[in-house]
């Protein structure tokens, strides 16, 4: 219930800000977004009012955030040292974080994934991999 209300307030606030933004648009372009934002705000009010009994979830709080941050770090690493080296760093790190301690499997999986992506994306589909800053 509280969670729903937080979302409702979030959407109302963000909606209001975006609505204000539409004043910089030319009128014809602003109509549709405004309709949508008004709709979202109205529904948010309903959401706020609607009293629902919610079970609290037993999901851990930090793991998803940390996983997300590690993934963001991965993306930055790709930008810096190009895709394949970055992946070689990232995969073991995340597997370790998620609980694996079996270095053989970690190594095998990493190599396997690199080969798979190379074969599929580079050779078959001829995707130009991101060039890193350093190499």
């Amino acid at each position: 219930m509280i969670r729903d209300r937080i979302w409702a307030v979030f959407f109302i606030v963000v909606g209001a800000l975006l609505y204000a933004r539409t004043y910089t648009f030319i009128p014809a372009s602003a109509k549709f977004p405004r309709m949508l934002i008004v709709g979202i705000i109205i529904l948010s009010v309903f959401l706020f009012i609607n009293d629902k009994k919610k079970e609290t979830s037993d999901d851990a709080v930090w793991p998803p955030i940390i996983t997300f941050l590690i993934s963001v770090g991965y993306a930055i690493l790709v930008y810096l040292i190009s895709f394949f080296p970055a992946t070689a760093v990232f995969l073991p790190v995340l597997m370790y974080y998620m609980g694996s301690r079996d270095w053989k499997t970690i190594l095998l999986t990493t190599v396997g994934v690199e080969i798979f992506i190379y074969f599929v994306f580079v050779m078959q589909l001829e995707v130009y991999m991101p060039r890193g800053l350093l190499f």
Binding site: F32, L47, D59, A60, S71, F90, L91, S100, T109, V127
Partner: protein, 505 residues
Amino acid sequence: MFDFTDVFLELIGLQTILALFGGVVGGIIIGALPGLSATMGVALLIPLTFTMKPAPALIMLAGIYAGAVYGGSISAILIHTPGTPASAATAIDGYQMTKKGLGAKALGISTVSSGIGGLISGLALLLIAPPLSRISLMFGPAEYFLLAVFGLTIIGSLVGDSIIKGLMSGLIGLLIGAVGVDVMTGYPRFTFGLIPLESGINLIPALIGLFSMSQVLTLSAQKKAQQVEVGSLGNVRVTPSLEDMKRLWVTILRSSGIGVFVGMLPGAGGDIASWVGYNEARRFSKNPRKFGTGAPEGVAASEAANNAVTGGALIPLLTLGIPGSSTTAVLLGGIMIQGLIPGRELFTKHADVTYTLMIGFLFANIIMMVVGLAAARYLVMVTKVPSKYLAPVIVSLCVIGSYAINLSLFDVGVMLVFGLFGYYMLKSGFHPAPVVLGIILGPMAEKGLRTALQLSQGAPIAYFLSKPISVVLIILIALSLLSPILMNKLKKSQDIPDTASDLDS
């Protein structure tokens, strides 16, 4: 109209065959893996289809869909954990059979039933879709706008916690779709000065983020490392005998019919079909008591129905662009990224692609059956992969997939942000499917509305009510807003358990 030889040549082309096999096998594995769903698999593999020709691309995606729906039965039967929600009914009798040492037989029955169900739905697709597509010729801007609204309301009303949240998700999706240069005036909206945003938020990275990356985050949050005890296959043959088939064929046929019908209804997916199939089989059975103790009919009914949904759901998708479920919503993205638009055009201008797809779909189901029967014992190993290895691999695929579309790291960022957003949304009862649908349909909806308003010259209500299809759509929209109530009644009458329906197939 079009050349059958073209279709034939396309079908035996190398890329198509690879796509067929790769899609079906990949789909089966994805469906069998606990923690992955059909929707997520399709989302993740869409970037691969980007550089393929349209026909192989669509065949691969359809193959993944069919394979994954079947694959879910593998873990349902062996570990009592449905790999996808559509296999929940299969888990009941399937697992009982495993406990009796008949696991292999259950797998065999599931495979054959899924294949037949899929084949029948493929035939239905081939027969119904082309004539049905003519309806889209009668669609003008007003109808397209209402169609978009209908698609959003029906999916919004059936997913997630409540219709309010579903509709909100849809509106959010529409708003995200509005980011970028306004097609009709050229004015940039919500770009905040960022140049990459001027072409809007790219659909595929958002989709991958919402469905795949968010699932990774969900996996990371699960506290208990789910160590699963996989049931043994027993000493039985996998392939069902003629004896078995004679007893089951009526069940399979009936369930397939149910599945096709349910699949055609927008908003109703594999899970509903499998329960209805299961219950109807029980009703018609001579000894209903054995259901729940390991009756092969239970497995057959549930699996035939849920695979029959796949072809059925493709009918409204291809003819009108209305997705019947999350997975088909993602498929819609995959279709549009090839530059194809659902509707009559698919059956006239692009008939070669569409017919190749429909016939390829039939082959996909056959391949699925063959692979399932041959490889059942090996597929079991798939169900044991722990998420600590799976999750990082998926992240890698998410990253490279999002990058590959436009060779843009910005898109990777989009994917990650949507992943985080999607995770918290899911936790709070908002479902990502309406968001994706909103992004896809946003431009079409807005264009339809603005053109219709122009054409109506100041009298919009009269305009919308003056056209018969418009009126029908308006009534459908009103009905779909009521559908949660109807669905609840249906579920209660069928004793379907009230898990927040994932519409994942």
